[in-house]
Amino acid sequence: MLILAARRFGAMIAIMAVISFILFVIFESDKLGVAGKVLGPYSSLEQRELWLEQNGYNEPFLTRYLAWVGRALTGDFGQSIRFKAPVADLLWPRLGNTGILALCVFALMIPLSLTLGVLAGMREGSWLDRTISFGSILTTSIPEFASATFLVAIFVFKLGWLPGTSSMTGGFNPVELVLPVLVLVLYDFGYVARMTRASMAEVMTSQYIRTAVLKGLPHRQVILRHALRNALIAPFTVIVLQLNWLLSGVIVVEVFFAYKGFGKLLYDAATFGDIFLLQACTMVAVFVAVFSQFISDVGYTLLNPRIRFN
């Protein structure tokens, strides 16, 4: 078990190293372009070359890459061009804001999708199953920007109940979180519910459930004590991997509602050409994605003895 976790961890580090190198090539192989972005479009060639010299850009490419990795590992991502402040100072509060958003989404999505998935999978083909299945296809077919549009049209423009932007200008306001959280939950719960349903349906047809039913156990007990334990292994990995999807959705939702989170920061950095900020944001996003993959792999092995003891 430990060996497997160590091997997965090694693979994670290898992937992070490769990705950081690819990103460094994409962003920094054009040295003069970097200087132009830092000094502005009206800087002269001499100024740019002086800046490159002063900031160690005339070292060999590999040396520069290793120095960059070293600084990044100690939390120094350089200066943001647009905000004229250290990238790290910008990054952490924004990550915190997105963390609040993600926490609310998971707190709502997990109970909702597991309950619906189990209810649908308990009796495959029943009207409840078909309704839940259709509902989850419907909500996963509506992309975040479209469902945000519908919800804003109803709750902001028609009813006037909720604010249409979530920039939190007047301090933290939970009411401004309602629409972003709702949009993300709507898009994401369907997939987890479908996975839970498939897993539950498979367990319900297995021999040991039949045995439990035949020996006369009450239906409640068959479901709660026997079926659920095995049916929830697969959804666990799906929920952890959902972080990767959530990161994508978060960008759109934060831009839509002007929420000052990590996704909006990444988007603004990309559209403004703030390359050091964009580098840092991309690395953080990839780290979250790769780390959640690692957790889901290890967790799945821990939860499923058939894999653990092989």
Binding site: I15, V18, I19, I22, L23, I26, F27, F134, I137, L138, T140, S141, I142, P143, E144, F145, A146, S147, T149, F150, V152, A153, V156, F157, K158, G164, N244, W245, L247, S248, G249, I251, V252, V255, F256, L266, Y267, A270, T271, G273, L278, T282, A285, V286, V288, A289, V290, Q293
Partner: protein, 299 residues
């Protein structure tokens, strides 16, 4: 019910001909109400996209009269804005239908390119194995580690927003997933007798991969392609919404929403209508994929 089964049974012997197989498949589709709804939605938008040049539409890029509601008459008393106009006074119906053409053309192109790349990677990894498999799988794992939206933003902001770059970005994001599916299918198929027969005949590796393996892996791939088409429609509209998509002023569903939201209080229809269009097209592809999967499981 009995008649349905008897026709299905009598249709089976005709299956060897291409037309017969197609009719058989349509017959099966008709049994699933979900698949029928999906087919209808997809065909509706395909028809709109094809008919866009012949329909009596207003020009989609000309500013006429701003903030007209759905069904309002223009000042000339004759022209009807069936779905109203947007904040710049452009006809929403015309933009919607021309937008359907744009999104369908680019989504199909991008998915097709991603499929060609993904299938070649998958069949090579699965059939050649060994070193090839290691290398291709590693590349796929690296690309799959990116949150998709981050990958799109990095590619588009590095290369600029254009149709070709969207195709490239979709290929980078989708080909690894397609590769995994194809690889799994090929690993299963390559132990079949007809592959050994081809090897004994002395066929080359590429012939076996492209002519013997890929066509036999098509079933699950068709379902996956439907899902991916829907997802690519979302991607293109989402990039349009973020201002990273196909260049203006030609109508783009995502950009239509982004432009209409700030003035939503005066022209709610201008933001709701394109959002409904995207959702219905994606729903069509997803329902079709679901129906096809159900049918393929039944056989």
């Amino acid at each position: 019910m009995a008649t349905v089964e008897s026709t299905a049974a009598s249709a089976t012997p005709a299956a060897p001909s291409r037309l017969g197989a197609l009719l058989h498949a349509i017959g099966l589709l008709r049994e699933s109400r979900i698949a029928m709804l999906g087919t209808f939605l997809v065909l509706f938008w395909v028809a709109m996209a094809l008919l866009a040049p012949v329909l009596p539409l207003l020009d989609p890029n000309t500013p006429l009269e701003p903030f007209k509601g759905p069904g309002d008459l223009a000042r000339d008393g004759e022209t009807v804005f069936w779905l109203g106009t947007d904040h710049k006074g452009r006809d929403v119906l015309a933009r919607l239908i021309w937008g359907s053409q744009r999104v369908l053309v680019w989504a199909t192109l991008a998915t097709a390119v991603a499929y060609v790349v993904g299938m070649l990677m998958g069949v090579a990894a699965g059939y050649l194995g060994g070193w090839w498999d290691e290398a291709i799988s590693f590349v796929a794992n690296v690309l799959l580690s990116f949150p998709v939206m981050v990958l799109y933003i990095v590619i588009i902001s590095a290369l600029g927003a254009s149709g070709a770059n969207i195709v490239l970005a979709v290929t980078f994001a989708s080909a690894p997933g397609i590769m995994r599916i194809v690889r799994g299918l090929v690993l299963d198929l390559k132990t079949r007798d007809y592959i050994f027969a081809a090897q004994t005949r002395g066929e080359g590796a590429w012939w076996i991969m492209l002519v013997e393996l890929l066509p036999n892996a098509r079933g699950p791939l068709i379902v996956d392609a439907c899902l991916r088409l829907g997802y690519t429609v979302i991607t293109i509209a989402m990039l349009g919404f973020l201002g990273l998509g196909l260049p203006p002023p030609d109508p783009d569903w995502g950009a239509m929403i982004a432009e209409a939201v700030p003035t939503g209080a005066f022209a709610l229809h201008a933001m709701v209508v394109p959002a409904m269009a995207v959702s219905s097209l994606v729903l069509g592809f997803n329902l079709l994929a679901d129906g096809l999967r159900e049918i393929s499981l039944r056989d």
